[in-house]
Symmetry: C2
């Protein structure tokens, strides 16, 4: 019986394809995507790629721009002040002239685990591949000139960024231990999250002994000097290897956040030999394995490029730093670069729960461990430091999503404690680091008031705006409260359930019915502590830190009630008015495809009984905004959030994050097979699918008719088959049995 079962499972599995061939890391490197095109493993700690131009790009990379070298730590898809860009290595020829070592690029190539570029100024082909914590460089020198390599321990990105978000050097150190071993570190603070210090240690080895060397500190270069200790300045070293007949020089650079000794151990453990191609192939194989968790059929190669590159981008971050946490020692996994959970909770985390449950389990465990040691789960974290919280405490959504979907191996008791802490305990002065800013007022008033506190400002003091982002906070806190309520219910905590269930309707306290714009009535609106509305405001007023809404306006945030679409539809005047409002929104200027607040909004049609309009909207967005071109991602990819949105919606459903519910959207493939782990598969079939046959006529789930446009995770958790019959015209599919909302009659 058991044997038969295994055979059946194997039989049903698609073959492992070379899906890496569909990944185009340059997608999203132009336009606003800000993705990192260099070499990385899935969730890899080392992200090895070029730092270009004035080193002000978030990913280090700037298409076609002058390259200063290749550094080992990067993030992908981010905005704001850059982080990282540490431990930069650059080959060159001729004399060492500090500040002048740089080259124009040509023939840039990028594929999973590999990056190559011709440094035309020096006639050097630079290639790089990676393991989890090691960068492997192969420099092929075209000219018979003096071959040089420099290691810059003081380089970093975003040194001159504005707004308090610049990275600031604390210090650096370099030691030439032998003619083939170099150790050191860079210590930096600041960047987007205004974080404290982080230290990137390295141990670098050459396959060719250096014939001469020198080091620098600040502006002083010292030939033949073997070490520069840390006195708060930038340090580095250069090496010459002679006009060798052997044209390539290889370097391996182990990275650690613990010590240079650990970096060397990482190097020796992960890449003991010098076989560049083998390391590259291992990286390709690792990527192939994770890409093969979704196997699609009936898509054009171009669509496959878009799709698998999106999967690739969704698995670059957060970063697995297990064993590399300098802040505490525990047996839990450790992840960093949650950048930000405000972005990733919506699609990325649910995607991992579905196709990489062990990975998501480890991520959630690391979030809970951060709570154990630091008192709060992060909303954002980078460089081992939590901050900045953009809206709600959306880690609550991540924990609830895992809990409700039955992810095993997580200490949910502590996770629940962490969620309740978010919901109850004010995080403190700057209100942008932990938990929920303004929570005391939210608890007291059932909304976050749009006022500044203390009112009586000192002329001396730059008083933080305690109730900034009051609109975003109120609607997100409400959604977060529903996440808590559901976990409470699942744990049998009835009183907590009732409490947070009630709080989950708090968004309605900022609903101002009297406001009208473009024929649409009712908007989320700033309210003062005394209950009076702010009059000097508009439906299209978006903002950032310090404003009522964060990165979207009232048009967008007035749809952000994922926990209770039923009540939202009622507030808007019923299903028909609501659908008109959605149409007005998506065809008007206020829908922003390039940011996360409206990720879920296309699904809202389905809550009004109009699944086909959700489908139309999603198809329209994908066709207009996602391509295989270098500018093929509509906004900052935000650690792969845009990409994860695409993956779900092309497969054909989309999660209501923090619930165990998926909404059926727009199947783009004739067949998709998702590997759920443990030998379980979810097969999604769209019969008769074509450009014209794009509407679902009917559906079955596990062979039974599916008379609704949504399903629960529990219905597919042990594998399943979701079959759609497609046709050229909208059907009644999804008209009845609407998806669940908080205010459904029980």
């Amino acid at each position: 019986m058991l044997l038969a079962g295994i055979v059946l499972t194997l039989k049903g599995q698609p073959p492992t394809e070379q899906l890496t061939s569909f990944v185009v890391p340059f997608i999203g490197t132009e336009g606003a995507g800000n993705v990192f095109p260099g070499a990385s493993l899935p969730f890899g700690m080392v992200k090895l790629g070029p730092d270009c131009a004035d080193k002000s790009s978030n990913s280090g990379y700037v298409p076609g721009a002058v390259i200063h070298g290749f550094s080992h730590v990067h993030v992908s898809g981010t905005g704001g002040g850059p982080k990282y860009g540490n431990v930069l290595v650059m080959p060159f020829t001729g004399p060492f002239q500090p500040e002048e070592i740089q080259s124009q690029p040509a023939n840039e190539q990028a594929s999973p685990g590999y990056f190559a570029v011709d440094l035309t100024d020096y006639h050097i082909k630079a290639e790089m591949t990676v393991s989890r914590r090691v960068g492997f460089h192969r420099y092929t020198f075209g000219d018979n000139k003096e071959r040089g390599i420099l290691i810059d321990a003081g380089s970093m990105l975003g040194e001159h960024h504005c707004c308090g978000e610049a990275q600031q050097l604390i210090g650096s150190e370099i030691n030439i231990v032998s003619d083939t071993l170099i150790q050191g570190y860079t210590r930096v603070r600041g960047g987007w999250n205004k974080g404290g210090e982080y230290t990137v240690f390295f141990s670098a080895v050459f396959d060719t002994p250096a014939k001469s060397y020198g080091t620098w500190k600040g502006n002083v270069a010292s030939p033949e000097k073997a070490s520069e200790y840390d006195s708060g300045e930038k340090t580095g070293a250069w090496f010459f290897f002679g006009n060798g007949s052997k044209k390539a020089i290889q370097a391996k650079v182990g990275i650690s956040f613990i010590s240079s000794g650990k970096a060397l151990a990482n190097l020796q453990h992960e890449v003991p030999g010098w076989d560049f191609d083998k390391v590259h192939q291992d990286a390709v194989q690792t990527w192939n394995k994770v890409l093969n968790t979704i196997h699609v059929e009936g898509a054009s190669d171009d669509m496959k490029k878009v799709f698998y590159t999106a999967m690739y981008h969704a698995m670059l971050m957060p970063v697995d730093r297990t064993g590399e946490n300098p802040k505490w020692h525990s047996d839990e996994p450790y992840y960093d670069d949650f950048y930000a959970i405000w972005d990733t909770f919506r699609a990325t985390n649910p995607l991992l729960t579905l196709i990489q449950p062990d990975r998501e389990r480890d991520i959630v465990r690391s979030l809970i461990d951060i709570y154990r040691y630091e008192g709060y789960m992060p909303d954002s974290r980078s460089g081992n430091q939590t901050g900045r919280t953009q809206g709600g405490s959306n880690c609550d959504m991540v924990v609830a999503d895992a809990f409700l979907k039955g992810l095993k191996g997580i200490d949910y008791q502590t996770g629940y404690e962490a969620m309740v802490k978010d919901a109850e305990i004010p995080p403190g002065g700057n209100q942008q680091t932990d938990g929920r800013g303004g929570i005391n007022e939210y608890i007291k008033l059932n909304y976050v008031p749009a006022e500044y506190e203390p009112k009586e400002k000192s002329p001396t003091l730059h008083t933080p705006k305690l109730y900034d982002r009051a609109g975003t906070r109120t609607v997100e806190y409400s959604a977060n409260d529903w996440a808590i309520a559901q976990v409470a219910k699942g744990m049998g905590k009835e009183a907590d359930y009732e409490k947070y269930r009630k709080r989950a309707s708090n968004w309605a306290n900022l609903w101002r019915s009297q406001v009208t714009d473009s024929g649409v009535n009712g908007f989320i609106w700033p309210k003062r502590r005394d209950g009076s509305w702010v009059e000097d405001f508009s439906t299209t007023k978006a903002g950032s830190w310090g404003n009522f809404f964060y990165e979207a306006d009232s048009w967008e945030y007035s749809f952000y009630v994922p926990q209770d679409a039923r009540a939202l539809i009622d507030s808007c005047g019923g299903p028909e008015t609501f659908v008109k409002r959605l149409d007005t929104f998506f065809t008007g200027p206020n829908y922003r495809v390039d940011n996360e607040p409206s990720f879920f909004t296309p699904c809202l049609y389905t809550y009004a009984g109009y699944q086909y309009k959700s489908s139309d909207r999603v198809r329209d967005i994908i066709q207009k905004h996602y391509t295989s071109a270098k500018d093929g991602i509509p906004g900052n990819d935000d650690s792969g959030s845009m990409s994860a949105w695409l993956v779900f919606n092309t497969v054909g459903f989309y999660p209501n994050a923090g619930q165990d519910v998926y909404l059926i959207t727009a199947p783009h493939f004739h067949r998709a097979v998702l590997d759920l782990g443990g030998g379980k598969q979810l097969e999604v079939i769209a019969s008769n699918l074509s450009e014209t046959n794009r509407y679902i006529q009917s559906a079955t789930l596990n062979g039974q008719p599916l008379n609704r446009a949504w399903f629960r995770h529990s219905e597919i958790a042990n594998g399943g088959k979701l079959r759609f019959v497609m046709g050229p015209k909208p059907s009644d599919f999804g008209k009845e049995h609407l998806p669940p909302s908080l205010s459904d009659p029980e």
Copy 2:
């Protein structure tokens, strides 16, 4: 003219005495003092001394107890969970048996910059001296046995302390670079302030090449292995030097909080040679210089021991870590181990302002720089991490004290901004780290209510008590507000002055006149948010974290109104009743000599016109509680706070910290000369002083009659002469012209 002036100054200066001979570092090592008896420079980063018994002592040292080795970082006089005890070195003979290397001590010797002990189990005399960041060990082996030394990179104090205050290892690393150079580090978190990670790096050199060696990690010892990288475990190394004919082996250990490279640079810079006695003599000279800032005449040798040991203890902490800050790079000085300012602001900081103004300037600059980079000035800080705040934001007192006394070279604009931040911006969730917990309520109600918030507790969540220490906070916030008011006035900020002046009377809002105990009426009392008094409370209820009062009861805190003794005296029923109350207090069980809250209380007699009673009280305390015995300090010395109290009061005056006012107390010396820096001196003469002639009959200041029992810093800032004529009976001295109070008519 200029030359003549110099000659005159030199002529007036007392000769430099070998005052170190009066320092007995063992005073305070028994009883509750918890002082560190090992080798340190003034404010020295390296504090090299023995770690004994089960390594649970705050100073590492336990009199007569088994010694495990000598570690390089310690604090002095502290309570709660220990910090530090890092990088332990131990000589031994015979085979290396891990866990068994330890020895009984004999012939312990301690003097400034020197510690020695015979390790009787091995017949080794261990001696140690220090520079600022280097420990110098000299081990003289008595037997012709195999000579061994171990370096333990994983050792620390307080690993098994309770209450969340244990130190926890994060990791450690050790590298035997050559037969004479060893590098590594220990990374630790936790301890009393529940701090984040700190890393103590070291570079150790031997004057004798090791003949064999080994390393360990966790429980695995590896002979001939030269390095152990950091994998989150304890590491160390042992060395054998053969049965040498040369009996002493010397080791120098450079310490750094930046890197082992910096540690080596520190070592090479500070102690380039191998002359132990020279380094020792340099340390003695450095101590002599700072001890000679107060020269006393007419005291017994025993009294000199008590006095100069107190001066010595008052200059062990905070620790000068300039150039050793791993969190940011700036040009400002950097000090750590403010442990706690709640203790030191009362006497230690004012003492330094008086006799080491450049040192105090640097300390204040470092506090302001911490505000610049971290958002708040610390109340406590250790291991590069702020926390825990015990009561008010007493850094405000330190800045005000410096400002009002005209200390130059400080950015008071930023300092004022930091004070106002304390007074206005809530510090956040755990309320024990930065600023003023409960400040919103204090601003709203004009007191901190004695209630817990949120009221509605989750059964899951261990809700922090947001309004814990509400009594201590209210009275200290009021005093802190007066500090701010005075600085505001000095800066011409009239509106701020009026605002904080008003708030400085907030202590009175917790004054409950109806409470009577032992014939005394009126006490500071817990009040709810609605204005009602808590009934379930008592005048003698002291506490700690989470209670209404921190480390004292209402008897003590009801006297803590240093800013407005006049109003306090009125509240207590006028001067006569007040003096009776003081008598009842000091002769009853509620006066605690062993802690800081009552430091200023003896001076309160003077505010009622009874200077002689202040004098009697101070003399009585000193005679009963301060001796030259090993238990000669009445409580935890608290970074020298008890000691600084003694120094002031024996010289004859005591500061009202955060004001520019000194109260005349109990001159114990016929003559004391204080070096105020810049060639200025304050001479204090007590004519006719004897055991019986202990009452001031009259006084002159700078040759003019002083018709009051107090003076301002400005009156002696440029030097001066304070002359008392003593007699056998109380006089009217100080009856008129009472010291200034907030509520004096202007």
